[in-house]
Symmetry: D2
Subunit: 337 residues, 4 copies
Amino acid sequence: MIITFKPHTPPSEINKIRTFFIEHHCELKDVSLNDNFVFGVIGDTTNIDPKWIEANTYVSHVTRLNVPYKKVSRQLHPEDTVIEVKGIKIGGNHPLVMIAGPCSIEGRESTLLIAENVQKCGAHILRGGAYKPRTSPYTFQGLGSVGIQHMVEAREKTGMPIISELMSTEKLDEFLENVDIIQIGARNMQNFELLKAVGKVNKPVLLKRGISNTMEEWFMSAEYIMSEGNEQVILCERGIRTFEKYTRNTLDLSTIPLVKQLTHLPIIIDPSHATGNRDLVESMSLAAVAAGADGIMVEVHNDPEKAWSDGAQTLTFDAYKEMVEKCHKIATVIGRE
Amino acid sequence: MIITFKPHTPPSEINKIRTFFIEHHCELKDVSLNDNFVFGVIGDTTNIDPKWIEANTYVSHVTRLNVPYKKVSRQLHPEDTVIEVKGIKIGGNHPLVMIAGPCSIEGRESTLLIAENVQKCGAHILRGGAYKPRTSPYTFQGLGSVGIQHMVEAREKTGMPIISELMSTEKLDEFLENVDIIQIGARNMQNFELLKAVGKVNKPVLLKRGISNTMEEWFMSAEYIMSEGNEQVILCERGIRTFEKYTRNTLDLSTIPLVKQLTHLPIIIDPSHATGNRDLVESMSLAAVAAGADGIMVEVHNDPEKAWSDGAQTLTFDAYKEMVEKCHKIATVIGRE
Amino acid sequence: MIITFKPHTPPSEINKIRTFFIEHHCELKDVSLNDNFVFGVIGDTTNIDPKWIEANTYVSHVTRLNVPYKKVSRQLHPEDTVIEVKGIKIGGNHPLVMIAGPCSIEGRESTLLIAENVQKCGAHILRGGAYKPRTSPYTFQGLGSVGIQHMVEAREKTGMPIISELMSTEKLDEFLENVDIIQIGARNMQNFELLKAVGKVNKPVLLKRGISNTMEEWFMSAEYIMSEGNEQVILCERGIRTFEKYTRNTLDLSTIPLVKQLTHLPIIIDPSHATGNRDLVESMSLAAVAAGADGIMVEVHNDPEKAWSDGAQTLTFDAYKEMVEKCHKIATVIGRE
Amino acid sequence: MIITFKPHTPPSEINKIRTFFIEHHCELKDVSLNDNFVFGVIGDTTNIDPKWIEANTYVSHVTRLNVPYKKVSRQLHPEDTVIEVKGIKIGGNHPLVMIAGPCSIEGRESTLLIAENVQKCGAHILRGGAYKPRTSPYTFQGLGSVGIQHMVEAREKTGMPIISELMSTEKLDEFLENVDIIQIGARNMQNFELLKAVGKVNKPVLLKRGISNTMEEWFMSAEYIMSEGNEQVILCERGIRTFEKYTRNTLDLSTIPLVKQLTHLPIIIDPSHATGNRDLVESMSLAAVAAGADGIMVEVHNDPEKAWSDGAQTLTFDAYKEMVEKCHKIATVIGRE
């Protein structure tokens, strides 16, 4: 940590800062330049929030020298984390993982039908929403436990592991018992109580980036989970909020090389929620594979126009099949498969 | 709801849409213009998500004719909602309400000291964080129940009602018993399980706008609370995330006239979190009062530079006293007091 | 400037950086901390772009110690700049300046009618668009020189100085001859050729902030004008682009205290373009005055619904009169008048 | 165009709107639904700005039925536009076009060296900045005409056509004489005078999207050029401004399928400026090719760390060669080559 002070800072203020660091078992080294007082901090500053230092009106900048996400960072953990779910390996140099299913679980028949078909098209993992975060209290909120049970049945039929979104700690036991990967949705990326709770269990967690969260905040949320002991974290980019109106969100594919560079965690791309538009799902999926994504999660439905939620972004079986084939061709070209 | 179709839509697709609305007890009226098929929907569309209609690739636009937030909207509830907390009235034409206190509760002594002093300066309600949402798992997470008890003691001494942030449903009973206003923080604005839980209790809720949520989403989150039965909702603007770097967030003061126009709920402004900079707190508070805010919530501490969190945005007692006086003068000028 | 290097940077890379600075007549001072190589730069770095240093992959951070806008900064110019236009003083502790007029100049009669009426309501300066930047090539592009002549005639009648937007260097002579303040619009805030051109003349320039420009970029654009010799720059905030949909742009009033703190230039607020909604213009104007703005620029028209552009945000004479009176009351309360 | 009115709109207001449309040679058709007055407009509304109608306080929504960009839209021009520059075809199903060169032209030797080398690596067109838009007036502004002459010489040596950025109409003649493709930079995307000027010439124009412009605004700026007669427009996405800090801008690859769907123009991706980080350039280029881009424009330099601008995002010859090879493999897989 390097601290620069404004010109003419009184010595008493510099002493306040010095005392603060001594209390935090760090040392200050004077490295001033001409008119500018500059101090370097020697010692462990992980639990020091830079904002505490910036509170002093005489401080002009605080420059961190290390990233604040220790366990997520590739610095101390150079090899890729690979997460295994019922024999499917996610991350590292393992083949592309395809995750597909309906936005909302709507019933027993349709869940089984969709599961069998996406598997035929090449999906490895079944996704489906049983508890749905909805902007309006008046629209369909998901089948809840009944939906989870339909997914469990689909897993029995197909052998595919299942992923679903957990919205509150109260349902954690239900998810531990029934679900293979726990999804934390974009709106809950900074629901720290929920992060701590899934940090204490032994089950892979897919953590979606919040629609307006920086990558650093996303990595810090993964750090919440890992700091509690659960190291099976998969990151998932699903679009960020920008001023653009032709897409629901702007898919940020630069997350792929940056996640690979800065962290050791796998990264999955969800182009369905990002674009909100089925015509864009295939091209954004191919782009994600070309950029090095470890997997692609999309919404597929037997009758998208009758889907109970988000039909506009949902693929038919035929469209999904074609997309999976192209994804694998690109994966081969970039040396993944 | 008005639905416009793309040119050359096949009649079979129009029939699909027609069937959908009949199933939802609505009626379609053909109001086509030249080449453009246009349909009006007659009936209650509250529980119809426009995205379901947009899923049909032949649909080009869906225009809603009514706002989706029935209980929050001023349309059916023309008079201002006034919320009373221990004799203090928030909203309507009632005098400006001043809320102040430390960002984090740090100990018994400092809490009492701050409470007594902000009251002397003109504060009506004491704020303080006992459970703190923090980006990093390694920084101070708040004193928890101990912090709540310090606030309770401060209320006993001063008579000021207290407000604190609730982060999970598990602590709801503690808050019901001890706290006068439950704060839902910006990061939890779309934690729908938490919104439903505070919607079932009889206690005022201060709902902060998420840093990247539209006003419509904010009003929908208030609707979640009100639709469960709790109509004592106070809205609080605390800045939105933009590209600007000189402020932590951009305080959106246009929320004040818009909340007044579109809803019947009170609106409080929090300039401390928005700006992250104590030098801006006074001028933004005065601006908020001039624009018609019902109250101002700021951070005040006996020694801001030693505050355990967010000291950079925290006022001293003297600065707060001066600010309160100016706020009242402006309130008088605009006919509030 | 402080430069931090990544751990294990080879000495040859550090030498490259050292050579670079020596070539720019600066000196490097080694202030390393443990594993982290850190260098301080001594000398004038104004013409060094931090990006040149960041190009070295071994560099982790470049921290500037001084602001890059020398002439705009209050550091070397502590007293307020006051700009005088035909006896009206803008900035410093001078009374609030009210600027009003139609969005577009539409004709001789209406220009005279509006000029006389806004003056009666309390306006000091007449605004009007003769050359209009329009998103679509098919909508009204302004009356051009004819419009400027109508404004000149209105000045002759009323004595009010006039301000209008310059869109290209080709019209600069026309503006020098006819207009009292040259407005540079938000879309041209980084049209550097235009900035240099108005920097070479002796005429006040009102520089609008671009809808997605940081304050630092805005100050750098003012620096372009001032570095060419023209020090009569007035800054104007008119709203920034965010995700919010209920307003056209988000008016960023925190610019007011920050412009006062960081620069010595006057700041004017334009709430009409920011909000795009006449119902918000009055409350945002009052807020701007309370926050310390030096002036308020709004759109006023004798028949807003028939205005040729931006009628939705335009005030009637009566509404403007009421607003001006309230603005002055607030200015008095904050000790301005 | 469909216009919905608020409930209880007085008939006199509806008559105002009716009169307005009659004056614009359109017809209003009453298609009201229960309480909501709704009107459809029949006729050509291209030159009607929806804001004029929204100015009436009784109007609640204006829904456009057609896009405002007639010449850019694929609707009336279903076949792809292919732009030919010295035998190189851009757009349609033609092979991927690779554009490369230094950010700034720095001298004769380095320009020739870079030109020859990028050509060997597979580039088809040479890029280089002679007039540089710079945030600071104190940093290098480009070699100007001398830089253009170095590029001309490089073209003579290599046969590669050249592209450079035009910043003002005053230099248009120089560009017409010397340059093969005129680039309009992001900051000038809404410099309408410049757009009109390049719309009057017979030379391909590459139009970069502004960092905070919507796709619709971008298409409207292309429409400015085309409406003046020049139909040789190439669109170029170079990243948009968001809240993310790990990248300079967020590259919006969803522009690729949307440009293909909504327009008939070619689309080029510039990942260098978007990411500001050479480590991301290759993966974002591959992603862009996979998504269907017609070409890739990147910065390449013989010694990136000594480049006079934007070195951090600049590739070496070796890195560029490898990237070009991978791009072509992906182009083959998606059926482009």
